[in-house]
Subunit: 170 residues, 2 copies
DNA sequence: CGAATATTGTCTACTTGGAAACAGAATTGA
DNA sequence: TCAATTCTGTTTCCAAGTAGACAATATTCG
């Protein structure tokens, strides 16, 4: 233990007062902390969190409409337009206008996009399996469960218990 | 009904795949969700989350140095400079250069700043006491506890208030 | 002491994300 | 049918936040 009150976290003995019990405040700090860890560990892969989530969601939901993707990720549609265009220019996603509603746009991964997802999956899952800071496995699982409940996101049917990495090579 | 299995949350039947178990992803969505609720409920008070946290932290730590405030809130110092200047121009904060280190700046609330904090405290605490979405009191308290552990933020010694559910041991 | 180094806040330029207006397509209602 | 309205993505402009260089002050060490 070092000097009194100060944690090793940048909170240099500051008292947080009522913010200590503010869910929004804690979520904001938690997100910043998690993204910092993300950049430290897999930032070198050159894919930022937003792009990562778009890639994984399109991979999981081929043909998803752009606006549905935006509202699912809580990204504004104006911003989603820019992100998708950049990813299209990078050759990762393909855009399609369906015949039954020519206002909308459906999104698909290109072969390059699928390859990118394939090469990202391992490092990302590895990162997630240890991106838990001071929490042990049980606490981290509980935290994620509570966040999913808060967000009304269903539990992953495949479950975190079985590590998809084990699929390769038995 | 257009979508099948859509929740009332904007997640229109989209499968989140591996992101379902990503702490960073869940924290990001949680933060956006919490800030949305914040704006819906007390955005009309004209104080945004960042300013709010600065006001409360300076109120709780009179004379705190600007850089300490920045690193505690995970706000970059360049940005903190702008925020503090705006709050100084608004007459809420007073800046002082201490004799023992003339590089640094100490922050204090003005009388107007203290008045602002006083008038914000009630609405903010009221908001926090019900800003829990679908979580019940016990789940929300547990979520906050886990987030504080993740962030290495000490529990509030004064406690979350006169909560009848507290210390219900298991 | 005095030169090299580190720290603190600030400045400029840039990136990220959002608000509001818009255009084209679909839907509604007379 | 066809005018009014709504929906979807886009454009433009602006605010929020970051990166990196900088000036002033402190600290370290010869």
């Amino acid at each position: 233990m070092r000097d009194g009150g100060g944690s090793d976290d940048g909170t240099l003995g500051v008292r947080f007062g009522p913010l200590t019990d503010s869910l929004g405040f804690l979520l904001r700090l938690g997100q910043l902390s998690a993204f910092e860890a993300y950049y430290d560990e897999i930032g070198a892969l050159g894919v930022r969190p937003g792009e990562m989530s778009v890639l994984f969601l399109v991979a999981e939901n081929p043909g998803v409409r752009q606006g549905v993707l935006a509202s699912s990720l809580r990204i504004k549609r104006a911003h989603m337009t820019k992100m998708i265009r950049a990813m299209e220019d990078a050759g990762l996603v393909h855009r399609t206008v369906p015949e039954d509603d020519r206002r909308s746009v459906e999104l698909w991964l290109t072969a390059a996009g699928r390859a990118r997802v394939a090469e990202l999956t391992g490092p990302v899952l590895a990162h997630e399996s240890r991106a838990q800071g001071r929490l042990d496995q049980r606490e981290a699982a509980q935290l994620k469960r509570l966040l999913r409940a808060y967000l009304n996101i269903p539990e992953d049917p495949s479950g975190p218990g079985h590590d998809p990495l084990e699929e390769s090579g038995s």
